[in-house]
Every structure is written in structure tokens, then in C-alpha cells.
Symmetry: D2
Subunit: 339 residues, 4 copies
Amino acid sequence: MIVVIKPHAPEAQIAEVIAEVEKLGYTAHPISGERHTVVAAIGDETTHHTLESLNALPQVERVLPVQKRYKLASRESRPESTVVYADGAPVGGSGFAIMAGPCSVESEEGLLATACAVKAAGATFLRGGAFKPRTSPYEFQGLGKEGLRLLRIAKQETGLKIVTELLSEHDTDAVAETADIIQIGARNAQNFRLLVAAARTGKPILLKRGLSQRIEEWLLGAEYILSSGNPNVILCERGIRTFETYTRNTLDLAAVAAVKRESHLPVIVDPSQGCGRADLVPTLCAGAVAVGADGLIIEVHPNPAEALSDGQQQVDFALFDKLMKGLQPFLSATGRTTV
Amino acid sequence: MIVVIKPHAPEAQIAEVIAEVEKLGYTAHPISGERHTVVAAIGDETTHHTLESLNALPQVERVLPVQKRYKLASRESRPESTVVYADGAPVGGSGFAIMAGPCSVESEEGLLATACAVKAAGATFLRGGAFKPRTSPYEFQGLGKEGLRLLRIAKQETGLKIVTELLSEHDTDAVAETADIIQIGARNAQNFRLLVAAARTGKPILLKRGLSQRIEEWLLGAEYILSSGNPNVILCERGIRTFETYTRNTLDLAAVAAVKRESHLPVIVDPSQGCGRADLVPTLCAGAVAVGADGLIIEVHPNPAEALSDGQQQVDFALFDKLMKGLQPFLSATGRTTV
Amino acid sequence: MIVVIKPHAPEAQIAEVIAEVEKLGYTAHPISGERHTVVAAIGDETTHHTLESLNALPQVERVLPVQKRYKLASRESRPESTVVYADGAPVGGSGFAIMAGPCSVESEEGLLATACAVKAAGATFLRGGAFKPRTSPYEFQGLGKEGLRLLRIAKQETGLKIVTELLSEHDTDAVAETADIIQIGARNAQNFRLLVAAARTGKPILLKRGLSQRIEEWLLGAEYILSSGNPNVILCERGIRTFETYTRNTLDLAAVAAVKRESHLPVIVDPSQGCGRADLVPTLCAGAVAVGADGLIIEVHPNPAEALSDGQQQVDFALFDKLMKGLQPFLSATGRTTV
Amino acid sequence: MIVVIKPHAPEAQIAEVIAEVEKLGYTAHPISGERHTVVAAIGDETTHHTLESLNALPQVERVLPVQKRYKLASRESRPESTVVYADGAPVGGSGFAIMAGPCSVESEEGLLATACAVKAAGATFLRGGAFKPRTSPYEFQGLGKEGLRLLRIAKQETGLKIVTELLSEHDTDAVAETADIIQIGARNAQNFRLLVAAARTGKPILLKRGLSQRIEEWLLGAEYILSSGNPNVILCERGIRTFETYTRNTLDLAAVAAVKRESHLPVIVDPSQGCGRADLVPTLCAGAVAVGADGLIIEVHPNPAEALSDGQQQVDFALFDKLMKGLQPFLSATGRTTV
């Protein structure tokens, strides 16, 4: 870390900073410039006490971290890209993973119809929420364990792998029994205890980016899972919260490119949450392919206008089929094929 | 709700919207303007299916909700301001509650010294994290149950009421045993299952605003607690995430005034998280008093430069004492006194 | 507009709202629901006094606009997509426009070398700032009129059309003389007097989105130009300001899709400003093509490490050439070719 | 500046960075840590070429600036707080300046009534827009020069000093003739040519913070004025753009405290723009006093419901009078009195 001392600080105050830096286990290298003295502190920032607390000293102007805070998630630690296998189906690598299905599991009939439709159009994974995190307690909260049962039926019928969200540590075992990929939603992106509980099941974890999570923080969320001994993390960009109100969130496609550069983990995109409008979903799917995403997770519903949650952002079967066909030229452009 | 139809939509498409509105249980009132037809849908929006799913129809331009989505938290449902009592100590009403203590509980000695110092300066509540939600898994995660034990000792020694954070559903009983107020942190503000678990203990809940939570969403978080049968909710503004980097967060003092208007619940302010800089904390405390907050929760540490977490935003004993003295004229200006 | 009255407002207060609505020239249609009365106000919102001022009345809870505020920029007013011609070169339509060149014009030699390089790689337009809006007065402010002279030389030498920024009303004539497209930068996106001055030259205007401009506001900026009698507006998405710090801005590629839906105007993307990092520029160019942009404006410099402005986001000649080659499969996927 | 080299970079690449740093005029001090080499570059960052362009080199991970970029605006350059005098009336120092008046100048009668009302309640300055920057070209654009004439009449009648906005370089002389303080609005906060034009009149400049302007950028805007030879700058916090929609903007009261710390310039607060809701204005005024603002600029209108602009945020005469009375205890708490 670099500790920047305020201009005109007397020698004794600089010495105090140096002493504190060394007390906290670093080697201190003071450098005097024209206006500022800076103290370069040599030592591994991830195992030592952070020096940011030195901001508490009146003579310290700023403390600048030098190292990245994530290790296991970084590409430096693992240059080759990771492929995560979910019940044999790959996410990452040369393939392109399509996950699709309803926002919420609502009924056996609707789920099976959707599963068949998305499979026919090219999906390998069925998504569907049994436990739903809803902004209001008066909104539909999901079918719970009954929803999990319906997902298992759908898997049996279609062979699609199951992606479903874990909301509560108490449901970890039940969800892990059904899910081929356990989803951690944006609202729980920094619910670290849930991340660790999910990690310990050994199942692949789809980790959505938090609503206002910086890329570094998102990778540190992944680091919680990785450092719990589970290497199977799939990152999912799903839009961040900004001032824009035309779309529900602002899909940060540059973050996909950034994370592919910083990390070896596969990254997929959720265009449905990402914009909150079915009419923009197909275009954003093409954009996701072009920026190098490893897959898509798309909300599909037999009749969006009557969906029990987020109808405005779900596409119907016909649009999904058209979307999938429209994606092929972009997949070809990247040299990828759906898995 | 108001459903706005796109200009030039044919009659049949308007009829389809009306039919859908009525199918979902509302009474439909179409009104034709110069360019637009709007359909006013009469019915309780909190108990009916939302009409936002109608955005899925191509002829629908927008759906505008009319009602507020929270009920129990609203001032309409309860015009008088709520006072929450935590082991007999009030938050809300004519008093002003001071909660202070270290970011993390680090040691018995440090905690007791801090407890005595903040009590002497006028605090009624001792804050201190036993379970810490840290952005990185490599950072100090708190002492856990040992931290709770130290908090109980501090309560015994000083009589201060205890405010401490609940991170995991699994720790609910342990935290509830120690805490006079259970804190739900910003990162768990939409961890609804944790909210409900905390609510069920019957203890007062201090609900921090999420990093990017709109006021409506924050009150809906409170609604989860209230609708679980626990009326003892204290809201806490702790800064929101914006583009500004000078401060760690942007303390939204207008939100205090807004929430006092919209809701009967007491609202306190966390200036330490709110700005992330000890040097601004005293000024923001005065601001919080002036905008009508019901209390403050302030991070205090014997030696911030060596704190195990967030040293840069913790004030030492001398500054806390000065801060408390400086607050008195502002409290007098609002006709309040510390409790 | 829809005026939502607070619950339990007495009849006289509702009558007051109705009277005010009619006084301001609208026809008022009150509708009483279970909890709320709403007053639908029929009348053209773009020519009448806004009713948002009615929020000043204590019985009014909210005022909801129904109409879109832009007219000439809307696709409703002109369903077919507009093609803007700049000295004969099209932007919009089936072609794809490549604008490239240095952030700032720095020297004749550097500019000509860059012009030749970008032309060889496929660009049709040369970008380059003669007048530079810099955050600090101590940074390089551009060569001014000498920069314009060099741009004219570059045009003579290469035939590339010129895109350059107008910063000041006083320079309008000088810039218009040189520019085939006048750029209005993000910081001046709501400098309406500059927009009108630029519009009046009759030259095509490239209107960058403001740093925190909502899509509606951006289109209203275009409306200033269009309503001044200049139909030649090219919109440019260049990233918005968010909490993320990994990238300089957050490139909002969904906004490209949104604006193509809402408006008939061509939209191009500036990936250089959009992310502020040369290493992400090629990937974002592919993303821009995929979401339907009509062109790109890319910063290219002979030696970015020594550039007088924004070196970190400029690509060198080799990378630009590679980028252009890499773009072809995505252009093919959209059925477009560079113009 | 500190140049952070990527881990494992070979010596030759480090040498290249050092050579580039020295070529750009700095003295390079390389320091090798456990994982990273950093190169500390000694030299005045405000007069040398920025090293941020070195991010263009593949072996460079990050470049960290050390110095603050503003000089004349900084408290280091001038430790005592500046008092700006506008036609003899002070802003800054021990007094507290009240500026009040309509959003737009609409009519002689309304303006004079407002001027008398705000003067009676304690204002020293009359605000009122003659030139209005409106988001839409179809909204009221102000009375222009006729508005300036009415402001001069109001000054003659009441003795109030005049604050009015400059929108265009072409109006600089006309506005300077009337204004005792020239206001630069948020949308023009980075219209640097307008800043310089306003500065050159020698009149005090009220510089509003841009909608998404970081504190550093705001002070650099002031630096444009100061470095043009005009020392009379008043900063005005008026709310920043965030994701929150309950209020029009998020009033950043912590920024007032921050700027008072970083700069010697007086800072006032605009609560009307800051929240966009008249009902919150009085509370935010108290908050502004408490955080150390040097004054307030408040929108007051005889009949807000019929105002030609921003009626929802203007207070009427009765509320303004009550607001002013309610402010006194807070002013006393800070030891200030209205000037």
C-alpha cells in the first residue's frame, strides 16, 4: 500500500506513520517528492492488517491499495479459463450455455410446457424460481418445496439441467438436492453466510452480481465460495442500478469483458433482469454473445401478461424461438456453438 | 393502476387490454385523450395481481402504479409516530438515542473501555459487531459467539443496551439472547428470510437501508418485519452508493425527512458508514439532528489506526466526547434531549 | 397527465384540483377507486402548462405524465429510420460508419499518420478534437483554430470526412467551416444554447449523451436541434456515470437498442470514452455492432502512452487494424458493411 | 504519481516504464514489493504530462495520482476562509446568506411581490431566472432580457442583491450588468468556456455542482474561474443524480462539510433543486445550516401550483416565512446570523 502524507507534515508525524506501518507488519519505504512524502508499505496486503485504518491519523491524506484483493478468482492464479460442469453440462470453454425458463415456477403444466419449448429451441438448462425474493411481502413468494418437486419432474421429462435460486440457509439441502446449479440472487450477493452454505454443497454456484456491486466486490463474493473449497463458480451479470429509469437496470456488458480479463471464471448474462423489458431482450442477447459471455439465462413464460412475477421482462415461446435463431450468426462470429 | 395504451392502437387491442385488466380482478375505466387512451384499473393493488405484466402486451406503452406498496409501515396506517422500546430504552418520540461503540468487538479490554467512554459521554446503547460482513473472506470476520459474550459482560458492567448485527439465520437465537436491538446490515437489507427470522424473535430490529435501496424498497423491507408480527422496527439511514468517491457512501439526509413523512417508524442515522471518514462524522451528526433523526449510531474505537475493521471511520474517545458536547445546541434547537 | 389525490381527501379538495386542472387548460376526468381518487387530465402535455406544479397542493400525492415529451425525435413522428449524410457520407441505414482518430489533434505529422492509418483500416471519418473540454484548467486544452487547420489538411490528403467538437458558441462558424459533423460533447449535452447554435449551421450534429442523462432527456436534447430546423442529428452513446470504477464510465449498450426503438435517429457508440481503457475497446466495438448501433467513433493515436489527453483509452494503429478485422464477422451477422 | 506494474513483469518492461516516466519529466523511484513493483514518479503532477497515459502500456496495472489536482481552490493554498462580497453583501464568514425568489422571473407584479415577501422574511439576495435551461424545448425558456429588466426594478425597489443565471456566452455582458452574483447552473457546470466568460466579468460567480460531478471535479470547475483571475467564487450544492426517485436529486450535505475542509471558498445549499419537493425544503434548510453551509438559495413563488417552471419545489410566502423563523435556533446553534 502507499500512504500519502499531507504536505508540510513535520518529520515527527512522518516518523509516526512509518512506525505504525512497521508495527502492522510491513516494511516502510518513505519517498519525498516536491510536495508530498509517500510511504510505500511492502508486504502482502491480503494477509496483513489493512493500512486504510491509517486514514484515522490526521497527517495521512490518503491510503492507496496496490494489490488486488482477490486471489483464487484471479486470472493470475489460474491463466486458463475454467469450465464448470453441471451434471455433465459445461458452462465456459468453447460452448455457449443457454439457460431458460420461467421467472417463477407456477404450475406443473406451465413449467413442463416451458421446459419443452426452451429445449426445442436449444436450451440445455431450465431455470425457474421455487423460492422468490420479492421486494414486497404481499407479492407471490414462490411455491417453495413444491416448486422444487416440479423442477425435478421437468428434469426427468426433458433431461434439462436445473438452475434454481437459494434464498435461505435453511433450504440449502433441499435446493442442492434439486439444483444442478444453485443460483445466488443479486439481493443476496453479499449475504456471505449463504454463499458459504451454498459453496459447501459442492454444487456449481451461479453468482449474480449485486445491484450496486463493483467488479472487485463481485469477484470477492466469488472468492468466498472458492476459498470454501468449491471451485465451480459461474458469474452472472444481470444489470446494475443507475439513474436510468427506461430500463429496470443498466446491463453492464463491459463488465463481462472486464471479468473475463480479470478472472478465469465463466461469465453469463441475464438480459431479462438486465433490462426488465421483453422487447429489448433479443438485442441484448446478441450483445452478450459479442462481448464474450459464456452463456445466457433468459426468462421465458407461456403467457407473460399473466405471469405471477416479472411478466414485463419474460418472453413467450415464439419470441424465444426467434431469439435463438437470431443468435446463431453472432455465435458463429465468435466461433461458438450452443452446448 | 393506470395502463397507458400506445397512440393509434386499434379498438380491438384496447378491448384486449380491458379484458385482461378485468380478468385480473380490476374494474377497468378507459379514458380517451387526444393522443392516448389510458385504462384506469380500480382495485386494491396490494392484494391483486400486479398489472405491470401487461407491459408484455405490444399495445401497452406503460403501466403506472397509483397506490403505495407498503401499508403497515405507512403513516396513513398509523398517524402517530412509533416509539420502540429496547429493554426499556426508547428510540423515537421526544428523546434522542445515542448508540456508540466499536465497529467490531475485538477484545474484552477494548470493549469495556469503549463502553465506559461512550456511556460517560452520553450514550445509552453500545454497538459492536460480533459477526461481521466483510467484503473479502480474508478480512477479520468478527469474534462470533465470543463477541456476544463480551457484549453481555459490557452490558452487565455499564447498563448500556446492546445493538449487534445478525448475519445468519443460524445465529438468530444466539444473537437475540444478547441483543436488545438486532441490527440487519445494509448488505442483508433485502435478505428477506433473515428479516423474517429476526422479526420472529420479537426483539426490536434496526433495519439499515441497502446500498442502493430506494426509499419505497426500504419501507417494504420494514413491511416484511411488521407483517411478521413484530412492530418494533427502527430504520437506519447509512448512506447510499453513488458515483462520488470522496466519501465511502453518500449520506442521504433528505431520506430521513422523507421517511419521517411517509412512515411512523423511528429513523436513526449512521454517519460513520455514511461517509467512511472520521473527520466528517461530527458535522454529519449535527446534520442528522437538524433533519429530524431520532438518534445516531456512531463507531467509536480506543485507537482507530489499529482497528481490525474500518479504522478510517471510527472516532476515538476524545473526539466522541467533543462530538457529543457539540451536538447539544442542535438538540436544543429541535427541542430534544438525549435519552 | 394523471393527478393522484391523497387517500381520504375531502370532496372540496378534490374539487380544487379539478378546478386547477381545468384552469390550466385540460379537461378533467375524476375517477374514484377504493383508496384513491385520480384525476385524468386530457390535453396535449407538450403544449399545455405541466401539471407537475400541482404537487405543490397538499392534497396531491403524485402527478404522472402520460405522454412522451419529445415529438420530432420520436419514431411515432417518423417511422422510417433516418440516414444522415455528412458531405455525402451516410450515417444510419444499411451501412456502418467508422469514425476514428486521435482524442486531441496534437501535430500535423501525428494527425496525418493517424488519418492514413485509420483510412487504410476502413474508417470513413476522421475524428480529432481541436477544442478540448478538460476537467482541469491545467490540462492540454487543444490547439484551437490551428487544430481545425490541420483537420482540413488531413481531409484534403485523405478524403476522410471530419468530426470535431464545438465547445463555445463563439467558435461556431470556425468549427462549422471545417467539420462535416459537429460534435457536441457529453459535458455540453444540456448546454441548450450551444445545441441551437450548432443546429443553425445546418451541419450534421453528433450529440453525445450526457454523463448522467436519462434516455428521455437525451432525446429532448436532440429535440432542441430538430426543432431549430436541423434534421441531421446523430446520437452517440458514450457511457454513463455510475458507481463502478473499473471502467471510466458504464457503456449503456441497452440504451442503443432503446433509442433505436424510441427514435428514428441514427445512433453510434464511443467505446473509448465508454470504458476509458484501450484493452476493452475492441470487445465493446463488437458489442455495439451486435446491439444495432449505426457506427462507432474510436480514439486512435500513434503512441498512446505519450498522448496529450486520455492516452489510456486510445488504441494504436496495430490494435485498430486488428479491431477492424475482428469486427467483420459481427457486421456480417447483422447484414451490414462499413460505408 | 505511483505506477503499479503487473506481477511477474520482466525487468526490461519495468525499465521501459522507468524510461517513459523520466522522458515525461519525472524522477522515477522503483520499489519492489513481494508481488508488485511500483514506480514512484516524483514531479509536480499539475505541471507535468499526466502519467495516466501509461495505462496504455501492457505491463502497467494501474496509475495512482498522489497530488490533488486543484491548487487555487484548495485550503492549502489559502488556509483562511474566503468571504465573497456581492455589491457589498457578504457570502461566507460569520454571517449566513439567504437568497430567495422565484425559479423563473414571470411578471413584474409577481417578482416584486416575491421580492418584498422574501426581504420581509430576512433574505438579502433575490434570485430569479431570466434565462432558463429547460430539459425540453417546449417548456418556458424564461423572459430573457425583459426578465433582467424586471430584476433591476426589483433591486431598485427593495435593495436586494440580484442572483441570476448565465446560460450563454452571448449574454455575458447583459447578465453581468444586472447580476450582483452570476449563477452557473448544474447543466453548465463543465461548460468551461462559459465559466471563463463569466469569470472575466469580475462579478462573483455562484457555481452549482453538476448533476454527476465528483467533489474534485467541482473544485476543478472553480479552478477555471480562479485561474482566470476572478477570486470570487461561491460553491452551491444542489443535489446529485442517483438511483433514488422519491426526491428529484439527492442532496449531498456531506459534500458541504467535505468542501469546507478541502477549500477556502464559501459553500451554499439549494434545497429546492436538491430535493424537488417543497414539503422537504424547510427540513433540508435546517440540515444545511447544521453541516456548516454559508447560506441558502431557496425558490419562492406567490402561487407554486401555477408557476411556469418547477412549481412542485417552490415554497409560497407563508411557508418561506415559517421556514425562516424555524431556522433561527439552528443558526444560533452554529453561532451565525443572517446577513
